[in-house]
Amino acid sequence: MPIAGLTGGLSWAALIVIVPLVGALLTGLWPRAGGWVALVVALLTLGTTLGGALHVWWQGPEIHALGGWEAPLGIALVLDGLAAFMLLLTSVVGLFVTLYALGYVGRQERSGRFWVLWLWLWAAMNALYLSGDVFNLYVTLELVVLASVALVALASGGPALVASMRYLLLSLLGSLAYLMGVALLYGAYGALDLITLAEQVTPGHLLMMVAALMTVGLMAKTALFPLHGWLAPGHGSAPAAASPILSALVVKVSFYLMLRLWLTLFPDLATPALGVLMGGLGGAAVIWGGIMAMAADRLKPFVAYSTVAQVGYLALFFPFMLAVPGGWRAVVFFAAAHACAKATVFMAAGTLQRAAGHDRMSELADVMRGRPISSFAMGIAGAGLVGLPFTGGFIAKWLLVETAIAGDVWPWAVVVVVGGLLAGAYVFRLLGPAFLAGRGSPGRPIAGIMEWSTLGMALVSIALGFAGAASLQLLDATVTGPGGL
């Protein structure tokens, strides 16, 4: 794969990190200007990530040696297909969440805090996607953790604080397990650069331990069953503008890192047995999250449990990685489809919650009827979660099933199909009340931008359904290990 090294002059990769970082610093200095700074940053970040993605599309991956120091001495920013895809996803979701938050936090007391944390989180996520160095990844991972924990804790009150404390501790446990892996890698190979390491690693007990520590550490952050316990209370009690960020984006960050590590460092370790173990956990997550979503009686925990279920599909990259060359791309596309749909549902849920003054699912029917835009957006996103046609979720489901069959690991196709039915059941539970007879009432006043940005996000999840081929092509330009998965 041609790699357009670009050490001098402007670099898309650097810009993608710098823009949100500058925004984060500015909001830190002037929290009152947070909303406007965030809007400008969102637009600029979208622009730069688009530029970066087009660069990858036309010229292949860009590797930016920071400070001009080539790996293994220096740190490299790696902008390849996978990173560009995730960055683009983050920018698009981020833009709509920013618009939503403009209406949600508004001139609320303490609104500045949200903007500071959100822009820091955004900068941290961008930095993580671009980092090509295992230790630097650890630092960015900690940035992500601190910012997202604080976003959960913004909703003061016992449950939110306890949830964020649990989230923080488990994340730190995961981070340190990851860091132990970094120490082992450096001890064994004397390098930190992913590409350098990928050329050196040899399967052995040390690499297995590294893989176990890093994978499980990141699993905990991704909330893969059975380490999902922190997610539902955390995402369920976070402020409405924070939940979509956490559920749509932050969970994907650690998934991305896990995928990245397996694509570069551990391809030789991907055995069928591991595929069965991790895929099995994913399948269990799909079922378990579905059941818990059926059991939830409040809207936001309900949506959070749907995330627990959908995260299960992400684990399918383990069995797919071995079975089909490039099979992981289906999972990445699924991650994008889920991000768009889940952001929409959480945004709509926040609107309904604010309009109704509560989020008890059994009593939301009136508000759902009275707020057709949010309900409509939720309907589209629900279709995306189920995987109905004309949404990104459909393409994702199709790709997953096709990959499972192509790789002759069809039991995972059954998992996908059963998970789709289960999702159908709980999405019906979510949307059903809107169709019952009765008058609608719009509830308390809501900033219009909240509803329209939700609708916009829903339309993105439809638009994603028309970008399947392009996404796969972009993902082809991914720098992988010598295993060449």
Binding site: A153, L169, L172, L179, A183
Partner: protein
Amino acid sequence: MITENLVGEIYLVCGALLFVLGVHALVVRPHLLVKVLAVNIMGSGVFMVLLTAASGPDLIDPVPHALVITGIVVAVCASAVALALMLKVRAATGQARLPSEAPED
């Protein structure tokens, strides 16, 4: 082998032991302050392992030293946030420990 020198061996073994001791305390001890300390102990274990890697056969490798300095600052920050959060948890729930079960929704 690094392990030709006994100090290196001791460092490695202690690092690993500190790490698992930290994990054990983090899981088992209920008080949040102890948990935060346990996280720090885990970190120290990792740093010891990392530092041992610096003592190469002929040259001293400066990179792990830099990594450890960075790691320490990151650990300090995480601890500070955890402690601040702990105070908030105590203010909200009356105790500085995680409740054994999730609150009723």
